[in-house]
């Protein structure tokens, strides 16, 4: 790609990119999640086996990432709705994006211990 031809938008474009990326990730997880949950129709052991995977440190960390993706998609989705339906939405879209990022950061900070406590207890003891 020749230098200088890549369009780099501002907050509006990057939030749109992030919304797409997180949306695709969440959709793929939804598919996997319905498959793993359907194991409750096979046997309790089959279900508990697959849930054990969700309790390993790496997958536990991925759950934190999943929550990060969903939380951004949810908050930014509300911002998109405000841009579309609130008369002053387009005017304040940038301020709303930084509010989304701020709320997201606070909630992610607060969710760190509750979500990762299983791994933290396993690695560092109770």
């Amino acid at each position: 790609m020749p230098a200088g031809t890549l369009y780099r938008g501002r907050e509006g474009m990057w939030s749109w990119v992030a919304h797409r990326v997180t949306g695709v990730l969440i959709f793929f997880f939804l598919f996997v999640h319905v498959l793993d949950t359907s194991l409750v129709r096979v046997s309790p052991e089959a279900y508990d086996d697959v849930v054990a995977t969700y309790k390993t440190p790496i997958v536990n960390l991925m759950e934190y990432g999943l929550v990060a993706a969903i939380l951004f998609h949810a908050l930014n989705g509300l911002r998109v709705i405000a841009v579309d339906f609130w008369s002053k939405g387009p005017k304040y879209q940038r301020q709303m994006l930084w509010s989304v990022v701020g709320i997201w950061a606070v909630l992610m900070l607060g969710a760190f211990y509750p979500i990762l406590q299983h791994t933290l207890r396993e690695l560092f003891g109770s």
Partner: protein, 156 residues
Amino acid sequence: MSAETTTPANDAVSAYDVDHPAPVIEAPRARTRKTPKTTRTNFEMYGWLFMRLSGIVLVVLVLGHLLIQLVLDGGVTKIGFAFVAGRWASPFWQAWDLIMLWLATLHGANGLRTIINDYAERDNTRLWLKGLLYTAAGFTIVLGTLVIFTFDPNIR
């Protein structure tokens, strides 16, 4: 104001005249014999509206789901067959999960449909990707619905 100032400046130097006509430019999306009689439906508008309405409901359903499953009461530690059996004993949580399943799958499928339409340029690629998408989404909805309705806590 004289008449001359309102005449377009390039009129005198036009490259086209009776002997050298300008090339015909086809109208974009010209109607052909294959074009259906009515090409305008409101499908995309309803899709757009659905994304916003289902999105608002999903914010509540999904964030509530994450709070219960991953944040409260020990996080992921407590999850297991017994935990699922306890929750699905209540019609309220069955309905919660059923509505969440349907809305999330349709919301995600419509989002992916938009992305396929945006990036897959060849007609055949779009056809196959969307075929795969609709198959996967239909399978997910049917399987998930069956699991919620046929769940048996005394399976063993």
